[in-house]
Amino acid sequence: MRRFAYVYETSTSPPGGIDIEQWVTWRTHTRDDPDFDQVDLRHELEFGITERLQVAIYVADWNYVDGETVDRGFFYSDSALELIYNLTNPVIDPLGLSIYQEYKMGDRLFEWESKLIAQKNFGPLILAYNATLEAVWEGDDLAEREGELVQALGVSYEFSPRVSTGLEVLHETVFPEWRGRESATNLFVGPNVSLRTGSVFLTVTALAQATHTAAEPDFQLRTIFGMAF
């Protein structure tokens, strides 16, 4: 169950638990290309291994792209393996912490993502913070390299066990070829809402770009639908 669509929480699936998640992310309108649209789809399977360890497989990430400056059409992007190990609990410990590792492989793409997840629950109020380091190798012979440092903050208030709403903030710094002097910084801010009943949930977050990066979308919307078995 996710309260946030971009920010990760520290909790993991229970041992023996299996979850399916369908992600849809729509990005639109860059300053370089006002007609730009991209829809990313992810099919994810999550497995609770122990009380603290969760393993997930992104069976397939694929997307549809449209715009003046891009090749239009459907494209397979990658598949991935994700591991989350919980260290402390956000309710009974002073601060909940988890570490996250993701290995993504696709057509002329390898990506490694490492994340520190922090969370504290104050009754119905939940604060979550992620610090993420991404390293990407892509292109022919994986010769093109890029690094990314992402900080994400989420606040969510649970009005009832079935409804919570809040805010998410993403701060990205991209380092093409790992060069600091060519880095670009982007900031996205927006509200979220999460609904759940029984074994299913739906979480939606809408983010608007608060910076003026021409190549980044001005608006993006992510929906995650999940079901536990």
Binding site: S11, P14, E51, N89, N121, G123, P124, L125, E158, P161
Partner: protein
């Protein structure tokens, strides 16, 4: 503006923390009173904290009547992948907390 934001966040967290529920640690005396192993109560507390928050925030054990808790835990046992011994540990913990007050 920045100071105002920090103050607003502090007040918000402060108001919440004044009444938010942290599952209390149970004492050896409570375990003796309940005639159960203290380790079982400690396990019940951990399960209560870990499994509940996978779907919703952890409720106070005082939110519901003691006789309602078995049905509540049973209704969520499948989603939380609770084995029968884990269910029993959670219920024993809830009983112990309510009686140690």
């Amino acid at each position: 503006m920045k100071r105002l934001s920090i103050l607003a966040m502090w007040l918000l967290c402060g108001c919440e923390s004044a009444r938010y529920f942290v599952p209390p640690v149970v004492t050896a005396e409570s375990a003796r009173r309940e005639d159960v192993d203290l380790a079982m109560l400690a396990r019940g507390r951990r399960l209560f904290a870990y499994r509940c928050i996978q779907c919703h925030t952890a409720p106070s054990v005082w939110n519901y009547a003691l006789e309602d808790w078995p049905g509540i835990v049973d209704s969520m046992a499948h989603r939380a992948s609770l084995k029968s011994t884990e269910r029993d540990a959670i219920l024993a913990y809830i009983r112990a907390v309510r009686r140690q007050r």
